[in-house]
């Protein structure tokens, strides 16, 4: 499905961060490593804030004068398999978190260049940068060698 309006893009963004937030809350329960647990908690809290930010951005930046069709964004390009299981190892949790952060980084980065509204585009760029930081953070978690191998596998 093509995302051709400002509202559709913002709605999808809110849906995506909301979905990630829900998954993080599930992953937190399963994490065994203390550092990983803290990181997932932080990511969950961040997504709650991002969800509010998306709603605020949609509300405050919608510009009736330039509600022009937007081209080049499709929902299906950002769909990933979000299946989680009840009992997962820490390595699996990190892999899922990385997939979520990668997806959001890609979406916010792509969408920022399509939005005709500078303030909304700036917020999207900022989130994309933050997502890159999260990716680095997840990759650098002080996990033991076995886990590291498991993640890289």
């Amino acid at each position: 499905m093509a995302l051709t309006t400002f509202g559709a893009i913002m709605g999808f963004a809110a849906e995506m961060v909301g979905q990630s937030g829900n998954i993080y809350r599930n992953l937190v329960q399963q994490a065994k490593d203390h550092g990983l647990k803290e990181t997932l908690q932080a990511l969950s809290a961040e997504e709650t804030k991002n969800h509010s930010l998306m709603e605020k951005t949609r509300r405050e930046n919608v510009t009736e004068m330039i509600l022009e069709p937007i081209a080049g964004l499709r929902k299906e390009d950002y769909e990933i398999d979000l299946k989680t299981e009840e009992r997962m190892e820490d390595g699996d949790l990190v892999r899922i978190a990385l997939a979520l952060e990668e997806r959001e980084k890609r979406f916010f980065s792509d969408a920022s260049s399509k939005l005709p509204l500078p303030e909304a585009a700036r917020i999207f760029r900022k989130i994309a940068l933050r997502k890159q930081e999260n990716i680095t953070r997840l990759q650098n978690l002080g996990l033991n060698q076995t886990l590291k191998k498991s993640i890289s596998a």
């Binding site: 309006t5 509202g7 509300r59 919608v62 004068m65 330039i66 069709p69």
Partner: protein
Amino acid sequence: MKRVKNYINGEWVDSKTKEFGEVWCPATGEKIGEVPFSTAEDIDQAVQAAKKAYWEWRCTPPLTRARYFFKLKDLFENAFEDISRILVTEEGKTLDESRGEVRRMIENVEHATGVTTLMTGYNLEDIAQGIDCTAERQPIGVFGVIAPFNFPAMVPWWFLPYAVVSGNTYIVKPSEQVPMTQTRIFEVIDECGFPEGVINMVHGAKDAVNGMLYHPDIKGISFVGQSSTARYVYKACGETGKRVQSLGGAKNFVLVMPDAEIDRHMPSMITSFYGCAGERCLSGSVLVAVGDVYKELKEKFIAAAKALKVGNGLQEGVQMGPVVSKKHREKVLGYIEKGIKEGAKLILDGRNIKIDGHPDGFFVGPTVFDEVHPDMSIAKEEIFGPVVSLIHVKNLDEGLRLIENSEYGNATCLYTTNGKTAREFKYRAVASMMGINLGIAAPMSFFPFGGAKGSFFGDIKGHGREVFQFFTDTKVVIQRWT
């Protein structure tokens, strides 16, 4: 089934009428509510409440009055999505358009909070030896707005916040076709806690309108609607000695020059003609291809119009909703028939559009007529629907003559990459709101909104800095103490 109430003196009250109108959801064609056709007696009740509240409110310091609006802005932010969705449900526009409208409503609240600088007068010492002069702006009394259906949230707020923050008291009469949006807005006003009687709302139709126009205690009226009614309102206010700003209809010409960046600006052109299903006084209506841009413009415009996603505005991603009512749909379809009869060539026909799951909705698809002659009805009259008349002219002069010959002068737009052409257009075109490489020339709250010729009757337009003059009397005080 919701039956809306009037809001008078800080309370929700039933009208004394026995006549009620129906409120419809244009996307589904279902009846969703009822609206009282309030009487002149209801209007008088609101005026008496507003009159009673006036003096204490007028004596309230402007900054204190502004603080109510700061609070109101926050409450509107909280209710933003709810108001937007109600608006879509009863008016038919898309969610994005609705959110954009509510945003503009709030922008007027934000602008009005600058009352402490915007309402000030001026002074000069020694206008004669030892004599000083001040010009002070004072509120006047009870004002009111009679609002149209197409922007049910925003239009009353082009006037209300400025009137009230200046110390006047106020009555809103929403369009009887879309009373629910303003009703939700008044729930927020109620929550905000304005003193009783400062802001009131009376629903209704003709009797309510006449009740306002001929009430001796209403000092001024703001009206937005079609030109025939705007002219009527202007005359009535003249007879009764009221201040008046009466905004009428439009027939807007969008000129595209051969040097225009068509691909870049096509989304903006499409929004101009089909945004809000063409039901806005700033919509493009006549697409004027200048010189040899005609063929390319026609092909690309048709392709873009065909690609528009039409549907229920509540569905995110829909780009054009239905028109407001069955009756209005018939009017728009009537114009399409007229265009065919008068000899225009229908090259995109939106008459038989089918929307999945919405068999009874009031939809008209994007429509384009080619080979339109300036004398045809579809080139001259306000259609207020998604119907585009394409006219081919030789040069800018010929395009400007089309604008000059129109009885309306609300808005016009030009697409060009040539600054000289843009300057010439800006200088000569007789329309008060103008877009250059922009399809919707909508002044924001801090600039005036209103047209020329048959599109506007009065002197001071909606919002902007000047609107404070409409809602205040300039008292000149000349003093000698030496």
